[in-house]
């Protein structure tokens, strides 16, 4: 049981490191390009901005969850 917990914690720690690297890349690339466009949309087309904002946050949620699940599967597969 303890061995299993240690294995899970190690996999999770590796996942966090990989995830953090991905997130940093995400900040600099995606948000950098999205920033100005979204700002203009917010100023000029509020309703479209509201819809796009919702789609973005839901889309990111689905993608991030899939990324973390995939990462964990890969890391656990390699560790096991």
């Amino acid at each position: 049981m303890k061995k299993e917990t240690a294995k899970t914690l190690r996999a999770f720690a590796i996942e966090l490191v990989v995830y953090a690297a991905l997130v940093v890349g995400y900040f600099f690339l995606v948000l950098h390009f999205l920033g100005e466009g979204l700002h203009q949309l917010e100023v000029r087309h509020r309703y479209t901005y509201a819809g796009v904002a919702l789609l973005l946050i839901i889309g990111q949620a689905v993608i991030l969850q899939n990324v973390t699940t995939l990462l964990l599967r890969l890391i656990r597969g390699r560790a096991g």
Binding site: L38, E42, I57, V62, Q65, T68
Partner: protein
């Protein structure tokens, strides 16, 4: 980092950490976490209107992650969540209008603050009493991870009152096979409406009222109440995000950055519920309404809205 929509300079690391903490709380307790996110965003200089709207957008994303995880464990009652969303939105709209009317009448802040403190402290005290009593009576049993069977049983020392409420045959009755109960539609709507009213009064999602109400009034097992509340939050927070975005109160870039931390936190929180029984989750929930009460007391004493 400059966020052009709100013209705010905020460290993305700070946002990720705040998101992570709120994600864990949300995934574990089924709350939106506005009582932390609001003050945390205000603390770094974000305007109040942006803090409220942006927080709602982030709550949508975090709840999507947590609900998908809870759904995998069978902890989401979709039918109940959809019905509750109607009551919550109606309650929130009326709550917001009511507060405007009371504001014109004067002295509203003091009255609403005192009522909310009383409600928060009562919820905490009651939950502490109930969960400890239930845990004591269960003590002879073996502590085990929550299985599907133990989740549906979910004993409560308040169960006799809950069963009396469930027996109120006010048509139409609605069958909830996932939660294992049949109950009047009006009772569900009332619970959701009251949660929505508090949400309208105090801002945020008022999950610290709705989640206990689902357990003690409707008789939903705790694990299901957590997952279903989060599902309901997706709908009501999406509605709130849209209306706030139209009014220019949402900086989606801040929400997206916060959500990168919340996505991981929400998964940890949701997975953690599998290792705790219902009464233990309820006992751990006790400090949350107290934090809400402390924020209201601070607001009353200083005059600053945190």
């Amino acid at each position: 980092m400059l966020f052009p929509i709100s013209s705010a300079h905020i460290s993305p690391i700070y946002l990720v950490i705040v998101g992570f903490v709120i994600g864990i709380l949300g995934g574990f307790f089924g709350v939106g976490g506005s009582f932390i996110a609001g003050p945390a965003l205000r603390a770094v200089g974000l305007d109040w209107n942006f803090a409220v709207g942006t927080d709602l957008a982030h709550i949508v994303g975090k709840s999507v992650v947590a609900v998908r995880q809870h759904r995998a464990f069978g902890n989401v009652d979709l039918r109940l969540g959809l019905v509750m969303a109607i009551g919550t939105i109606a309650g929130a709209e009326i709550g917001a209008k009511l507060i405007q009317m009371l504001k014109r009448a004067g002295n509203v802040n003091l009255v609403v603050s005192i009522v909310s403190i009383a409600v928060y402290v009562s919820i905490s005290t009651f939950m502490m009493w109930e969960s400890r009593k239930t845990l004591r009576s269960k003590k002879r049993g073996v502590a085990a991870p929550a299985t599907a069977a133990t989740k549906k049983e979910d004993p409560s020392s308040f169960g006799h009152v809950t069963r009396s409420i469930q027996r109120l045959n006010i048509p139409p009755l609605i069958k909830l096979p996932t939660s294992g109960i049949t109950i009047s539609l009006w009772i569900i709507l009332l619970v959701a409406f009251v949660g929505g009213l508090f949400s309208g009064f105090l801002g945020g999602g008022a999950g610290y009222i709705r989640m206990p109400s689902m357990v003690y009034v409707l008789g939903i097992p705790t694990h299901l109440a957590v997952g279903t509340d989060l599902f309901e939050i997706i709908i009501s927070a999406s509605y709130g995000t849209f209306t706030h975005a139209i009014k220019g109160n949402v900086d989606i870039l801040i929400a997206l950055v916060m959500h990168t931390g919340a996505a991981i936190g929400a998964q940890i929180g949701a997975i953690s519920t599998q290792y705790f029984t219902g009464p233990k989750i309820r006992l751990a929930f006790v400090p949350l309404p107290l934090i809400g009460a402390a924020i209201v007391i601070y607001t009353l004493m200083t005059g600053h809205k945190v």
